[in-house]
Subunit: 387 residues, 2 copies
C-alpha cells in the first residue's frame, strides 16, 4: 500500500461515470483500497512531497513456503515505485491507470479480460505520441503489481482470465442467479467460469463426498460417460492441463467451504507433478494468491511409477523420459513441499529409475473403463494417495 | 470401401465382447460397414485372392470446391492398400485394427479419445517385438483412412476430439437424457461436448432467432455478462480459437435443423478469415466431412478493416501485419470460395493496405460494452455482413 495515507473521506470526482451496479461487500472493500491509494497521492501533493507506492516484491527471494499453512507466501519485502524518478515515472502512471481501470469496472459492475483492460487503458498521452502501454507485455506485470498493492485477487479487480475446465456431479450451484444442477448436465457439463468468487457462484446443495479432479478433458469425458460421479457420489472436474485460475479457486472453495477432499488424477510425469504442485501449494509467480487459490490438503491419486507393473500395462504404453523431463523431475523433487516427503522422493526416484513416464490414458490398454471401474475405485477404497 | 464385398451375413466371432449397449440406427449403420469391410477380407481369403482396400484419397488433388453445395468435397480418386505388398502390409493391418477398435467401442456403447484408441490398439505383434503402432502419429492418419473408407465421421466411430467451446442462449437441448436450458446457465455456460450427433444431443425447444459465434472465450464472457443473447434472442457460442469439431458440427445442426442463421464475430486478421473459412466451407485436410461439419450459409459479421476509422478507434489498437500475415492473407484471397467474391477481395485488400490488423477486443477502447451494445446490434440491424 502507499507509504502515507489518510482514512477514507471518499472524494468521488468520477461519480458520473458510475453505472448503477449494486456493489457486493467484496467490491466495496476493493474500491475502498483503490480510494486509499488515490488519496495517498493527493495527500502527498498537498504536502508538496513525492508520492511513492511501496509494492510488495513479487520476486522469488520474497516467496517462502509457510510450513504451518502449507502454502507459498509472500514475504514483507517491498519495492518503491517513485513518481519523481525518470525510470519509474511511467510505471507509476501505469499503476494508477490500472487501478483507475479496475475502479471503473467495479463501479459499472462489469468484468473484462486482461486483453480488454489493456485496450481500455491504451491511448496516447495527451499532446504526445507516447502510448500509455506499448503492448500487453507492459500491462500484465502492472496488473500483478496492483493485485499485491491492493491485496485483491485479479478476479476482485473484475478481470477475468481464460476459462477452460468443466464440472459435473452431485452438486447444485447458483451462478449469477441461475440454479445449476450439475448432476443434470449431460455429456457436456457445466463450463467453469473464470470468476468463481462467492459474489458470482454460491453453493446451494451438495450431496457429493469428494472431488475427483482429472488433468485432461478427454479423461474427464470417459469418467463422465461412465457416470463415475453418480456411482461414487462425487464432483468431477478438469482444467484442460494446468488448471486456470477459476478452476483452482473453485477447488479451493469446494474444499474449504464444503469440506470436500480433492483427489487429483494426473499423468505420471513431471508435468503432472507440477500441476499437482500448483493445485496444492500455489504457483511460485503468483504466491500472493496462494491462500485463496491453493488447496494444501489436495491428494495425488495417480498415475504412479509402480502402475506399469501393478496394473499389468503393456510395453507399448511407456514413453521414454527426455533430458528435460529428468531435469524437471529433479527440480520438482527439491520443492520445499516435496523435499521432506519420503513418499514423493521415492515416487520421483522410481520414475527416474523406470526411465519412462505414463499417461492416465495408458490405462485404456487394460480396458476402456479400467480407469473408472478399477483403478480409481481401488485407490479410493484403500486410501492409497500421495500427499 | 473394399474392392469386393458380400452382403451382410454378419459373422460375429466377438459376440462375447459385446456390452449390452442399445445401438442407435447410426451405430447399426456404422457397424454394418465395418462388417462389410471384414467380410470382404474373408471373401478374398476364401477365393485365394489378395484383400485390397480402396481408400478414397485424402490428398489436396482429390479435393474440390462444390460450387452448388458451396462446400469442399472429396473426389473419386482412391488409393489401394494391399496386404501382399511389403510397404503396405503394416498399414493394412493397422486399418483393420482401427476398424476393429471402432467396432468394440460401438458395441460397448462407449467412446474414447484418439489417444485412448491408440493405447487400446497398441501392443507387440504376437511372437515379435514389433509394436502395432510406434506412436500416435502413426495411428492418426489410419483413423482418417477409416473415416473415409467407412464413410463415417470420427464421432460415428465413437472417437472424440478435444472439447472446448461453450453455449448459452434461448435454446433447450437434451444431452444424454438431461434437459438443459441454456438460458439458465449463469456465467459459465453449457460446455459443448465433442460428440454432438443426434444420438447424444437433441433440440427440445428453441426460441432463438440466430446464432452469434465469437472467436474467443473472453469475448464470449463479455457478451454473456451483458446478456446479449437475452436482449437479441439468440444463441451465443465460442470455440476458443479455431472451433473444434463438436462446435462446428453443432453450428451445422443449429443451422440445418433449426434454420438459425450463423453470424461469426472474428478478428480482422488472416487467422479470423481462416476460422470463418473452416466454419463455412470445411477444412481442406478433412474435406470428406464438410457436408456435415461446415455451414456454407454462415456470415462474417466482423471485425472489418474499415472499423478502425468507422468505429473511431484509437491509434493504439493497431497491430502491424507481419510478413507471415501478408502471405497468409494472399493465400486466403485465392481460396476458391473467396476468389470470386468482390466483397472479400476488397476486405482482404483493405487489410493489406491498412498494414495493420484489429482484434475484436480493440472495440473495448471505445467502451467496455461497445461490442455488445453498439457494434453487433448495428450490423445485425443493417444486415451488413460478408458472405
Amino acid at each position: 500500500m502507499a507509504k502515507s495515507r489518510k482514512s477514507s473521506k471518499r472524494p468521488d470526482p468520477l461519480a458520473e461515470e458510475r453505472g448503477d451496479a449494486i456493489l457486493s461487500r467484496q467490491d466495496e472493500r476493493t474500491l475502498e483500497r483503490i480510494y486509499q491509494l488515490a488519496e495517498s497521492i493527493v495527500e502527498c501533493a498537498e504536502k508538496d512531497s513525492e508520492p511513492i507506492f511501496a509494492i510488495p516484491a513479487r520476486s522469488l527471494g520474497n516467496v517462502s513456503f509457510n510450513e504451518e499453512k502449507r502454502v507459498l507466501q509472500m514475504g514483507a519485502k517491498t519495492t518503491n515505485r517513485e513518481l519523481f524518478n525518470l525510470s519509474q515515472a511511467k510505471s507509476f502512471m501505469q499503476t494508477t491507470l490500472v487501478a483507475a481501470g479496475a475502479k471503473r469496472l467495479i463501479e459499472m459492475g462489469k468484468t473484462t479480460s486482461i486483453r480488454g483492460l489493456y485496450y481500455m487503458l491504451k491511448h496516447d498521452i495527451k499532446s504526445t505520441k507516447e502510448p500509455t502501454f506499448h503492448d500487453q507485455g507492459e500491462c500484465d506485470p502492472i496488473i500483478e503489481d496492483c493485485e499485491v498493492l491492493l491485496e485483491a485477487l485479479r478476479e476482485e479487480l473484475h478481470l477475468f482470465a481464460d476459462k477452460r475446465g468443466d464440472m459435473v456431479g452431485n452438486i447444485t450451484i447458483v451462478d449469477s442467479g441461475d440454479e445449476i444442477d450439475c448432476s443434470r448436465m449431460g455429456s457436456g457439463g457445466y463450463a467453469i467460469p473464470s470468476i468463481v468468487e462467492p459474489s458470482v457462484i454460491q453453493f446451494k446443495e451438495c450431496k457429493a463426498k469428494f472431488v475427483l479432479h482429472v488433468e485432461k478433458n478427454t479423461v474427464w469425458q470417459r469418467f463422465n460417460e461412465d457416470k463415475f460421479w453418480k456411482k461414487h457420489n462425487c464432483v468431477l472436474t478438469h482444467g484442460n492441463g494446468q488448471p486456470p485460475r477459476g478452476v483452482r479457486r473453485l477447488l479451493n472453495r469446494l474444499h474449504n467451504e464444503l469440506g470436500l477432499p480433492i483427489y487429483c488424477l494426473l499423468d505420471n510425469d513431471p508435468w503432472g507433478y507440477y500441476i499437482y504442485s500448483v493445485v496444492k501449494q500455489g504457483s511460485i509467480n503468483l504466491a500472493y494468491e496462494s491462500e485463496r487459490m491453493a488447496t494444501p490438503e489436495a491428494k495425488f491419486i495417480g498415475l504412479r511409477s509402480r502402475d506399469f507393473a501393478r496394473c499389468g500395462l503393456s510395453e507399448g504404453v511407456k514413453i521414454s523420459l527426455s533430458d528435460v523431463d529428468r531435469k524437471r523431475a529433479k527440480q520438482i523433487a527439491e520443492y520445499p513441499w516435496f523435499v521432506h516427503k519420503k513418499d514423493w522422493q521415492r515416487e520421483i526416484d522410481d520414475m527416474l529409475t523406470n526411465g519412462f513416464k505414463l499417461e492416465v490414458e495408458a490405462l485404456v490398454s487394460r480396458s476402456i473403463s479400467y480407469m473408472t471401474e478399477e483403478y480409481v475405485p481401488r485407490l479410493l477404497k484403500e486410501g492409497d494417495f500421495l500427499d
